[in-house]
Every structure is written in structure tokens, then in C-alpha cells.
């Protein structure tokens, strides 16, 4: 199977304003939808509500359970995978430690009065330090992924091939792929483990909340008010890259101080090549082959000045 999805829909959180069925209809999708709820972890199979919302058309791919089955059947691979994940955890901790130090001058200089040109140069240098750290982290993550894949060749392992064949069969009987949110790291890991995009072919992909985050070019974790620690946004890993140039921020109003333009501006400027897109409850950003992007009013762009403005689709690339 090959090709890129012929349509995409990235939606806001669905709990209070479910819009998935509307997006499915808008994209003209008929037939069953292969669904990924791996981000729900042990609740992965509790899809009754989703199934009902889709008019009984959801086919659960059960990537979380299948991942556990692969690990249970292939102890050698499971051990290697666990060691890789532990390495990722350590890398994330160290990155967060250095990020605290790198972000501190950015925030302090943003409000510091004084010689304006001097301050502008220092602010830019401080921000460059954060970007360099983000890039180094992303680069190292990519290296570890590449080394792991080269060493362990997941796609060639029997247990994984078996599950993947079953997934391919289910997707083959479906007309689109729907990816729910939840634990974004678990979700992204399962999507990559089974190389799901390669199985999806040109079927439309719809994803919401954490699902949209996992589909973006990079997955950025964010929360301004954790009970402990500084709460600087962290780059987690590369996403599936379905939405080139975008990083998604669902639940932004619940998790970010959107009125603090110093913080929001820094967040927008950190990932300079990416547009930070806030997905409100019910928001919908869609792309269709031959037609391009369209965004509804719930899609907002976090500008370099820290302000939220309606997302315009110019410059958004699939």
C-alpha cells in the first residue's frame, strides 16, 4: 500500500463538542472507519460512545493491546524496546533540566527594561539557545529511533508482522482512519511501532486532540501550571508528519496562560518553522487533495506577538 492520504481532518477535543461525525460526512467518507484509541491505554476497547457517534462504523484496531501482544510474544524485542523507552525517559529528563536553564533568561529578558538594542540582541540569543536545545533533542531522538530500527528491524519480526497483517486487513476493509487522543506518547509510539501510515495508503485520516498532536510534524507537550516544576513546553518527539509545518495545541485554554503574551509569544517563536495551532473544542482543520486546507473558527494561530488570531490556511502545507 502506498500514497498519501487524500484527505485530512484535525479536530479539537471531542468530549464536550463531538464533531467527528460531521467531519466524516464533510469529507464524503462512507463505510467503516478504522479507529485508533491506543492513547486511552487500558480503556482502549471502551469505544461504545465513539462507535455510536460514528453510526456503528468504528472498527477498533486495538493498537495498544496488539503492542502488548507483540511484547509478550517477542521477549528479546520487548526488552530492547523497554530499554529504548527508558533511554527516551532519561533524555527527556535531561532535556527538561537544560530547558529550565535555557528558558529562564528568555523570560527574564522579556520584561527587563534597559538599552533596547542590546536587549533585543540578548533576547534573540537566549531564544536561539532554546531553539538549539530543541533541535539537539529532536536530532538525538531521531538518531535513537534510526539506530533502534536498524538494529531490531521491527517490521521483520514475526510477532509484529502477525499483528500488522491483521491491522492491514482491518484497514483494508475500512475507508478511513480515525485517531483519538489520550496519552500522546503511548499513542505516538504505537502508531510508529506498527508503521500505521504505511498501511493507511490514501485513505482519509481524521485525528483529534492528542491524535492530532501525534500527526503533526512535532509533538510538543505543554502545560503552564503543573503542580511541580516550571511548566515550559517540551518537545517530545517527531510526529507522523501528516501536517507539515504545524504543531497542535488542543485544550490550550485549559492548559496555557493565553493572556500572558510573554509566554505565548515565546512558545510561538521557539518553533519558528512551525505554526502553533490552537484547536478549540469542536475545531476543524481539513485538507483535501486538489483543494488544499480549510479551517473553521475554532482553529486559531498563536502569533509571534503571543496573540491568538484565526488560522489562515496560506502557508500550511500537507
Amino acid at each position: 500500500m502506498s500514497g498519501i492520504p487524500r484527505a485530512l481532518a484535525f479536530l479539537g477535543p471531542q468530549r464536550f463538542e463531538p464533531t467527528l461525525a460531521r467531519a466524516v460526512a464533510a469529507l464524503g467518507i462512507e463505510g467503516d472507519l478504522a479507529t485508533v484509541t491506543a492513547g486511552w491505554q487500558e480503556r482502549e476497547r471502551e469505544v461504545e460512545e465513539l462507535h455510536e457517534h460514528l453510526g456503528g462504523r468504528a472498527v477498533n484496531l486495538e493498537l495498544h493491546r496488539r503492542g502488548e501482544a507483540v511484547f509478550a510474544a517477542d521477549a528479546e524485542f520487548a526488552g530492547a524496546y523497554r530499554r529504548r523507552q527508558e533511554l527516551f525517559r532519561q533524555m527527556q529528563d535531561i532535556y527538561a533540566l537544560r530547558l529550565d536553564a535555557a528558558m529562564s533568561p528568555c523570560l527574564a529578558l522579556a520584561e527587563r527594561p534597559g538599552h533596547e538594542r542590546l536587549l533585543e540582541e540578548e533576547r534573540a540569543a537566549a531564544l536561539e539557545g532554546v531553539r538549539a536545545l530543541d533541535e539537539a533533542h529532536a536530532g538525538r531522538m531521531a538518531e535513537v529511533h534510526a539506530e533502534f530500527d536498524a538494529r531490531w528491524r521491527p517490521a521483520e519480526r514475526d510477532a509484529l508482522r502477525h499483528e500488522r497483517a491483521e491491522i492491514a486487513r482491518l484497514i483494508g476493509d475500512s475507508t478511513a482512519l480515525a485517531i483519538a487522543g489520550g496519552h500522546v506518547a503511548v499513542l505516538a509510539n504505537r502508531l510508529k511501532l506498527f508503521d500505521l501510515l504505511a498501511l493507511t495508503g490514501d485513505r482519509p485520516v481524521l485525528a483529534w486532540s492528542g491524535g492530532a498532536m501525534a500527526c503533526a510534524e512535532r509533538v510538543v507537550l505543554f502545560h503552564d501550571h503543573p503542580p511541580h516544576g516550571t511548566g515550559h513546553a517540551q518537545l517530545l518527539d517527531a510526529g507522523l508528519g501528516l501536517a507539515g509545518g504545524l504543531v497542535f495545541l488542543p485544550h490550550a485554554r485549559r492548559r496555557l496562560d493565553l493572556g500572558d503574551t510573554i509566554k505565548t509569544s515565546l512558545l510561538a517563536r521557539r518553533f519558528t518553522a512551525l505554526a502553533a495551532v490552537v484547536l478549540e473544542d469542536g475545531a476543524s482543520l481539513t485538507w483535501r487533495l486538489g483543494e488544499g486546507w480549510s479551517a473553521d473558527a475554532g482553529c486559531l494561530k498563536l502569533g509571534e506577538d503571543g496573540a491568538l488570531t484565526p488560522l489562515t490556511v496560506q502557508g500550511v502545507a500537507a
Binding site: 477535543p13 468530549r15 464536550f16 492513547g39 487500558e42 480503556r43 487522543g181 489520550g182 496519552h183 500522546v184 506518547a185 503511548v186 486532540s209 492528542g210 498532536m213 507537550l221 505543554f222 502545560h223 503543573p226 503542580p227 511541580h228 517540551q234 488542543p250 485544550h251
Partner: protein, 390 residues
């Protein structure tokens, strides 16, 4: 603690009460207007003005701030029935109080009729003043977006205590028997529910993923002054009766790091002494305003109920032991126990335990303990807050 009775210095804006009184004794209509214009207690910077209106021989503020005279006299505005008192309270203070109205040699303690804020406890209610910068934390209030957990009431026939013991079991929203959960055992469970809003707090913190999904056992003492004062049967009850009973019925993670004892005041002592009696069992402790009385020489002056605690704490201080992996300790700066709690922290740290200590400008009360739960629980059982986007 800052000085009391402070009036603003030269150049500082005059307080509202001074603007009323300085031109001369106000008339009844002026007092009416003054009272209608402001909310009381009136917070102006660090100054807090209390008022009471009515006929009395004396009016006093009866507060619960350790270190200050417990009774502060109001002044009567000559020729009127208006009484007032201005104090300075440090920012972010939260102070519970009553008014004492004295008539014909008899003092009656009442809640401040002009103050809508109340805090409840097993003895009734107090008025509460929120100094500048204090806000009731949002996570202590019911949130319509939060998925609620459930509480089941059970009774265990306890051989250790020789009585039927009530145990409430809190299960988090979306509880699943197929997964494993850490356990929090709460002393004075009923009081935490009633006066610290524990159910709402747990629901909110778990919903916000700030705290991991937990099963919580809420225990109810019969005579807490006995059972919680380093009482061996109580430790046996929790460890040899409650833990196995819970494990048989609910999916608990079988590791010390997944077991926490929590309590306030005597309940904190019971938590520490139970962990001390059963090492390697409880990996987490949440100790709030613990009554950790001890004596360096001579008797401790706190009275006979404290005698077993003093014996335990003296022994613990002589031979401190690593009774858990992580200990969260909190105490109010306006409590008499702040000295005991502060001095406990280095002792706990000396055993290699990871200790976090938080102080607040508050007293020995249930809302102080409520306000510290987020910091404590999220440190002892952190949830994957940065990772979940549903």
C-alpha cells in the same frame, strides 16, 4: 509575623475607617453608608479592618493565630454602636476567627455577621479572613468538567481495635478492575471529606491528571486521641487488617511506593508511627500539621493525651529511622506546632528519605490541610499531566 496595630506611615493612603472617623464621630447615616460601601473584613493592602455594630460592653476578635494574644479588643466609636479593629496580616494569610461580644460580664462567641466566608470543623464553624493574595484554590471547588469518583462505605470487624471499624473506599472515575492502582490511606477520613472537601479535591486532581488514579481508604477513628497517639493496635489494624482486606477486593499495586499513609494533627502522628512500626510497608507519607510533640528535658506541657506521642517522638528523635521513601510534610506558620514540624524535617532527611516541606500562612485547621493537598498528593503520586490530551 509583622507588627500588629500598624497604621499606615506618612504618605500612605488613609484607611477607609480613618476616613470615616478622622473628621469626627460619624452619624448613624454615615455609618450605614460606610458599612454598605465596603465588604468586611475590609482588606486594604496588608491592613484588615473588622467591624461590628451593636450594643455591647466589649467586643473582641478571638482568633487562632499562635504567637499573638488570642483576644484582640475592638474600639468603640464614641457615641455610636460601631466597633472596629484594624490588624496587619501578611500577604496570603488565611485566618479563622470569631467575634466575642461581651454583655453584663458574659462573653458570647459568634461568627462575624458581615463576613460571608466560613470554615467548618467538627466543633462548628469559624469566620475566615482572606488576606491580600490568598485565593481559595480553584481545584478545591466542584468543576462541572470533572468526572467524579465514587465512595463505597464498608465495615471491617477489627480484632486489633476490638470493634467494628468503618472504612470508606474511594474509587477514581473510570475505575477499571483490570489495572492496578496505588493506595492512599486517610486518617480522619470523614473529617477530610466534610471539612477539606477531599472527594472534590481527589476528583479534580485526578481529572486534571495532576495526581495518578488512586484508590483511597478513608478510616474513621472511635477515639482519635487514643487510637492515633502511637497506638499499636491502630497500626496493626491498618497494616494487618485493612491492607489485606483491601487487596482482596480491589486491584492494588503491591509495592511500598504505591502505599501512602496520610493524616493531619494526631492523624499525622498515627501515619508516622504506623510506618515506623511496619517498615518497608508504606513508601509514601503525607503528614499535615503533625502533633509531633517531644521533650528535650522534663515533661511536655501539652497534657496527658500527648504523653504517648511524646514517648514515641522522643524515641524516634533518638533513633530516627527510614520509614518511607518520600515524605510530604506541611504545617501552618500560625500553628503552635510549627516548631515541632520544622524540627522534624532535618531529622527525616537525615535518614535518607526524600522529604518535601511546605509552610503556609494558616492555622491548625481543615482548610489549611485542604489547600496543601495538591502539592502533597501530586508529589507523592504524580499524574502524567503533560502527556494526556483527550
Amino acid at each position: 509575623m509583622s507588627a500588629l496595630y500598624a497604621e499606615p506611615g506618612p504618605g500612605a493612603p488613609r484607611l477607609a475607617i480613618r476616613r470615616l472617623l478622622d473628621p469626627g464621630p460619624p452619624g448613624s447615616a454615615e455609618i450605614d453608608a460606610f458599612l454598605a460601601q465596603h465588604a468586611f473584613p475590609l482588606i486594604e493592602g496588608m491592613s484588615v479592618t473588622f467591624v461590628w455594630r451593636g450594643e455591647a460592653d466589649a467586643v473582641r476578635l478571638r482568633h487562632f493565630i499562635y504567637g499573638l494574644p488570642a483576644s484582640q479588643a475592638f474600639a468603640r466609636v464614641e457615641g455610636t454602636d460601631l466597633w472596629h479593629l484594624t490588624l496587619e496580616l501578611p500577604d496570603r494569610s488565611r485566618v479563622e476567627y470569631k467575634l466575642e461580644i461581651e454583655r453584663a460580664g458574659h462573653g458570647e462567641w459568634i461568627e462575624d455577621p458581615r463576613n460571608p466566608f466560613r470554615a467548618h470543623d467538627p466543633f462548628g464553624a469559624n469566620s475566615v479572613v482572606h488576606a491580600r493574595g490568598y485565593e481559595v484554590p480553584a481545584w478545591t471547588r466542584p468543576d462541572p468538567e470533572t468526572r467524579p469518583g465514587t465512595i463505597e462505605d464498608h465495615v471491617i470487624k477489627s480484632r486489633a481495635l476490638g470493634r467494628n471499624a468503618r472504612v470508606g473506599v474511594y474509587l477514581p472515575a473510570r475505575f477499571r478492575p483490570g489495572r492496578r492502582y496505588p493506595l492512599l490511606v486517610v486518617h480522619d477520613g470523614g473529617d477530610y471529606l466534610a471539612y477539606s472537601g477531599l472527594k472534590t479535591v481527589l476528583d479534580n486532581l485526578i481529572h486534571r491528571v495532576e495526581v495518578a488514579d488512586l484508590i483511597v481508604a478513608l478510616t474513621y477513628p472511635e477515639n482519635r486521641l487514643v487510637e492515633y497517639a502511637d497506638h499499636e493496635p491502630h497500626a496493626r489494624f491498618l497494616t494487618q487488617e485493612v491492607l489485606p482486606w483491601l487487596s482482596e477486593r480491589w486491584p492494588l499495586t503491591d509495592a511500598p511506593a504505591a502505599r501512602c499513609l496520610m493524616g493531619a494533627s494526631f492523624g499525622a502522628v498515627a501515619s508516622l508511627s504506623t510506618a515506623w512500626r511496619y517498615p518497608e510497608t508504606y513508601g509514601r507519607l503525607l503528614l499535615q500539621s503533625g502533633s509531633f510533640a517531644f521533650s528535650d528535658i522534663g515533661p511536655n506541657p501539652r497534657g496527658p493525651a500527648f504523653a504517648p506521642i511524646v514517648r514515641f517522638m522522643n524515641e524516634f528523635r533518638d533513633r530516627p529511622a527510614r520509614v518511607a521513601e518520600r515524605v510530604f510534610v506541611s504545617c501552618g506558620q500560625y500553628e503552635s506546632l510549627i516548631y515541632e514540624n520544622r524540627s522534624l524535617v532535618p531529622l527525616l532527611q537525615s535518614t535518607g528519605m526524600e522529604v518535601r516541606f511546605v509552610e503556609a500562612r494558616d492555622g491548625h485547621n481543615w482548610e489549611n490541610w485542604r489547600d496543601r493537598l495538591r502539592a502533597g498528593l501530586s508529589w507523592l503520586f504524580p499524574g502524567p499531566i503533560g502527556m494526556i490530551y483527550e
